[in-house]
Symmetry: C2
Subunit: 389 residues, 2 copies
């Protein structure tokens, strides 16, 4: 397989975008990525789309074909594939798009992620989101994701002494980052007290421990590494990828404080990239709830098992820390349009590695990592990205 | 890229399977494919799943992870990807699975397709199915697939003199084939009069011109061609594949009597396989309505444009004809569990090329083709399969 580069990135604003439809968001992100890559769209050989639940949320399946059509590429009959893996849909679509270029089948591939989530009411939306958990053993009995992650948080507090303050620190850090991101859903900063005093959702998880439900889209243009410098002086290499699954239901797991799929997916990606966890400078990871970020930095081996809360409170993952986690604001502040998340994470890492992240810029970033999970960790996708000069 | 073989096939009965859940159907097909390949399931490197609308039909997204879990492979954290492209979901999953092996990323890959459609009421089901059309321009105004295909039929009758009797012949032929298929949804034969006198659905389409809504699953085991003979004396080679899209809405097409995506996908597959249309001995194609089979045999260039109806009436596509179309019974009689269709088509061609199709066996079949479409042809996937001795 050949090396693959990212030469174009594009992203819409994330938020409650009632004035924009799903297809409009998809096209906007795609056009931005094409413009950024400075290629003609006619060069594209194929499209991959990550989307979680457009069928349930906006009564529209078959969205890869839809986006080709509204991009104006139906007359070229562009091959197009939609991938779904709950909130890891974007990451898994990126994985398939990488494979399409690495294999030699295609040269120029666009991969996008999009989700339109705010056109349904809250209760209904919750029912939609929980269709990605185990319907026969979780959702049907009323389990919501907040309640499932609350159980993980409880156990992590019991096993390792993690505190609600440490979880709240994740929200404070990520909102501070988000306040510097013009495309973020939330640009307000938060204090520790605000997070700790926000309404309980599923104790110990409070409202401000939760990432929002958002609309938005993001897109990338991939091409073979050997062609990349014809289009950009700052290509970013996909150095490693890893995909893994676990039981879909949380209660079947070996350990509620560890997402084994994250451990395994990251092992595969580190191995492929020839990178050790300590070499990672920046990471965009899946902070759907604050406890998720704490567990994930442990399972990615960015910090020792059980020390995720402590490390967060000590600033290890903050600007100036050993590894800056979620400089975009993460799902918590940048927002969480499910299928777009995995692609938006890559967009941020590419901006950082190019040195174009402005106020959010992490100095000297050379190795970046993304982690996109589906459900409570039934799917995990990890990519390792590098700037090579 | 390296050549890829199919070494295992498995399929459940198709039909109204109220006693079996989605996950049970998926596992049953997968276990049959593993048994048929005579491999240990532990050899599998990854799983691909084609599924159209489990989120809407059974409130369950994230089905690739679900199937890994219920297969017992969650402890191995098997990479798993769900692909959706309306009723072409199975075909497009096959395409991605092929790519995963051809690229060298994986050696042993299972690809399955599954759909559980009969657990929802008819009206509701119709709403689910039509989410794969263009929601903003077709479904929301009440267009159903029967009405869309009826417009294609009307125009084909006007342009080429195709008759309702010729369409009915497709149903008669495919039910005769289905009567010999123990796994078919319908095993009754039909007379021309029965089809012509059945209740109108969307004139000229009558009840017996429509394929049913079914439950069912099918699965394949793929491996590199160079390893295949260690496992079977009758590996089948994936000689060519092609994927193409078109506008999602029918009214935007250049020509309502031609599915350009079928033309393009088949051109790509023929070219890759080095096979001319006239060399195809058997084809499993997407007869969701009888008119679809007539248009598709034209667009696949198995017969001349406009002569699909006449060729059907003359027996060109019947047993003993130049190219036997839908020897399994097709969607019309074998049944139509949407996401499983594209995989079941491959299962039939492999059985035929192996010479194991018993009463349905097409003598001397050496080159087989499958065509799986999504919507009214917004997605088309074609594969060309060969037995090589």
């Amino acid at each position: 397989m050949r090396d693959v580069a990212i030469i174009g990135i594009g992203m819409t604003k994330f938020g409650e975008l009632w004035e924009k439809s799903f297809r409009e968001l998809g096209i906007e992100a795609g056009l931005k990525a094409i413009a950024d890559a400075k290629i003609s769209g006619d060069l594209l050989d194929a499209l991959y789309v990550g989307n979680m639940s457009a069928g349930k949320l906006i009564e529209q399946e078959h969205v890869a074909s839809l986006i080709v059509d509204y991009s104006g590429y139906a007359s070229r009959h562009l091959p197009a594939v939609r991938v779904e893996a709950a909130s890891a849909s974007g990451g898994v679509a990126f994985y398939e798009a990488y494979l399409a270029v690495a294999s030699g089948l295609y040269d120029f591939v666009m991969v996008g992620g999009a989700e339109k989530m705010t056109d349904v009411g809250d209760a209904e939306s919750n029912r939609e989101l929980c269709a990605t958990a185990d319907n026969e053993w979780e959702s049907i009995f009323g389990a919501t994701y907040a309640s499932l992650f609350a159980m993980m948080a409880r156990r992590h507090m019991y096993e390792y002494g993690t505190t609600e303050e440490q979880m709240a620190q994740v929200a404070v850090k990520n909102h501070r980052f988000g306040s510097k991101n013009p495309l973020a859903h939330f640009r307000n900063t938060l204090t520790l007290d605000q997070v700790l005093n926000s309404s309980p959702v599923a104790t110990p998880i409070k409202t401000l421990d939760c990432a929002p439900v958002s609309d938005g889209a993001a897109a990338l243009v991939l091409c073979p590494w050997d062609h990349a410098r014809k289009f950009t002086d700052t290509p970013v290499k996909i150095a490693g990828i890893g995909l893994a699954t676990d039981t879909i239901a949380l209660h079947s797991r070996r350990d509620m404080c560890t997402m084994d799929a994250v451990v395994r997916a990251s092992s595969r990606a580190y191995h492929m990239a020839g990178v050790a966890p300590k070499q990672v400078n920046i990471a965009e990871i899946h902070d759907c709830y604050t406890i998720a970020e704490i567990i994930e930095i442990e399972d990615l081996r960015l910090v020792k098992k059980g020390e995720g809360g402590k490390a967060t409170a000590e600033g290890v993952t903050d600007m100036g820390g050993r590894v800056v986690v979620n400089p975009s604001g993460g799902l918590k502040a940048r927002g969480q349009p499910a299928g777009a998340v995995g692609i938006a994470q890559v967009v941020e890492i590419v901006e950082q590695l190019r040195g174009e992240a402005k106020e959010r810029q992490v100095q000297g970033a050379e190795v970046g990592l993304t982690l996109n999970i589906g459900g409570t960790g039934a799917t995990a996708f990890v990519s390792i990205l590098k700037r090579e000069n």
